[in-house]
Amino acid sequence: MNIAIVGAGLMGRLLALSLLRGKQSENVTITLFDKDKKLAHNSAAYAAAGLLTPLGESLHCEPNIVSMGFESLRLWPALLDSLDEYTLFQQTGAIVVSHEQDKGDYQRFVRHLNNNYPEHKLHTLDRAQLLELEPEIGRSFNQGLYLPQEGQIGNRRLLIALRKQLEKEGESSNGVNSLNWLSECEVLAIENTELISKVSYQQCGINCSQSFDLVIDCRGTGASNKNSHRACAPLSDLRSVRGELFQLFAPEVNISRPIRLMHPRYQLYIAPKGKGFYVVGATEIESDDDSPMTVRSAMELLSAAYSVHPGFAEANIRQHVSQCRPAFSDNQPKITQKGSLIQVNGLFRHGFLIAPVVLKQVLALANNRINNSIDDLPYNNYLCTEQPQEEVI
């Protein structure tokens, strides 16, 4: 079985590894196409904070994303344990705080959680309790909210760990690799029929094409109408949402868990990544502009960080990142199958939050194709998965 995966971001890597490890893996050869280098610096997953905070996101997403988030929190540890390289996974809760001026937004958030997610634990903290949990931010705020089930993941470390694992497991003992990773290789066209799909691509200036039994397209914004011409199976309704974030090195700051700061326009967070590194993000702008961060965004993000902990004043700005996230108009992920082509896209700002659930759903779809079976998909209650209708005779 010849399988192509187009796009080697988070989903592409997870899918490639899972298919290499599947029951039918001896019969499976995978070609992984990606426009980017293997370091994936242009992927949305690289420009993320890896927050696994379903309730923290809940104000701006539908309940199914929250459910997928909790399910993914349950699935991540086993996935990470199967990798040789260490990836940070933390589930020690997250804290939500607000400045006095934004108290209205904070109260709206608490009301939203109480009304819509009463089954989940949340603890309101007074100053003393806040000091006990996070001694260094307790000084700045009189109250906060503790969401004990929330967590985070080392997003960049995971991309690296997946790369190394794929390189290792993609090599075969008999000299024939079961994984062929074509990086810096742009896909020009995907022609799909019921039985096979043809992928045309350009590598080192040379145009080539190859047929596959199954193509899984997980290109993110690369699959939008703008970035992908008609022959490339573009997804209409897919748009880009610009996000900007900082990586700071602040050895003087000791924050142990993700902090979310209420803000009238964005969802601001500070995610401690260990050894003095913090990610501060993120703006959300309806734009497909991926040019460097603007001064205004920089000031908003940095002043937010500084207002949470004055120790950030002496932090080094290690990196500023801006990248576009792929989203459909309902901000929901979508999986579609047309014959031998499966497309998965629209993970928006929820890539790491929901990736394991999306992975299992796509894998089930792919396995049905590989095994010629029609097994039920595991997460039809959470995810919109469009499959070809069986003809009724």
Partner: protein, 265 residues
């Protein structure tokens, strides 16, 4: 009911609605449709308009206004000087092929209060350039008068600062503006929190209401949009019907013949 007149364009709905802060574009679309509004404002300052980087969402909004037979109203949110406001307005005229512009020049970052001096300056330049200017301003009578004298047929004083939801902070000022500028199209803009705020503005004789956060930040934006549409209609009908004058003492609606005269008011 009469239609709303914006620079000669007749619109059935008196509600103008913003396009920011919704949970998703789809929810925004449903809310706009539920509100009945035919004028949708949008901000382009942060979307790198020189590169037209907001094309996707702009196209989405264009489709919505086409569906409701309405108009896009680009705004200059985020601008702080007349110069940058004029530049952005010209860019938006090119992008959206409309000479309507909601003029917003912010003078204070903390409460996003408009800068009256830069606003007048920008309004004058844009009117001379053929724009149909809808200025967002404070509830200062003299400022509104000056904007009207410049040629702004539509004036949009605030109810309270943007996004606060505090409602009509100074009804006296707003009523005075209505009384003194009877021929201007007056739209109450910013600070609306609940449907009754919008209703109150319409009862005062305002021609319309512009809002965004009150709908976008509601627990159920679509239902709230519908509520606002109905509140505006109620207020407008109340104004047209003629509101009874207030009295100091109670007057029984039914004569109480069996009450001794010394007990009657």
């Amino acid at each position: 009911m009469m239609s709303l007149n914006i620079y000669g364009q007749q619109l059935d709905s008196r509600l103008l609605i913003g396009s920011a802060l919704y949970p998703s574009p789809q929810v925004m679309k449903q809310a706009i449709l539920a509100s009945g509004s035919q004028v949708v404002t949008l901000s382009l300052k942060r979307q790198n308009p020189a590169e037209q980087a907001g094309q996707q969402i702009w196209r989405y909004l264009q489709e919505i206004v086409t569906e409701v037979n309405g108009h896009l109203l680009p705004n200059t949110a985020g601008c702080k000087t007349a110069k940058e406001t004029v530049t952005l307005a010209k860019m938006s005229r090119e992008i959206f092929q409309t000479d309507w512009i909601k003029l917003e020049v912010i003078g204070d970052d903390y409460n996003l209060q408009p800068d009256p001096i830069e606003l007048l300056n920008a309004a004058e330049q844009l009117i001379n350039d053929g724009f149909k200017v809808l200025p967002y301003c404070t509830d200062d009578l003299v400022l509104c008068q000056r904007l009207y004298d410049l040629g702004c047929q539509v004036i949009m004083p605030w109810a309270s600062p943007i996004g606060t939801g505090k409602g009509l902070m100074n009804p006296y000022n707003l009523e005075t503006i209505r009384l003194r500028l009877p021929d201007a199209t007056l739209i109450l803009d910013a600070g609306i929190g609940k449907p009754s705020d919008a209703c109150l503005a319409m009862e005062m004789g305002y021609d319309g209401v512009l809002l965004n956060s009150a709908v976008a930040l509601a627990d159920n934006p679509v239902l709230m949009a519908k509520a606002f549409g109905q509140a505006l209609q109620a207020g407008e009908q109340g104004y047209v019907a003629g509101i009874m004058p207030q009295r100091q003492t109670a007057h029984p609606s039914t004569p109480t013949l069996d009450t001794p005269f010394w007990h009657q008011p």
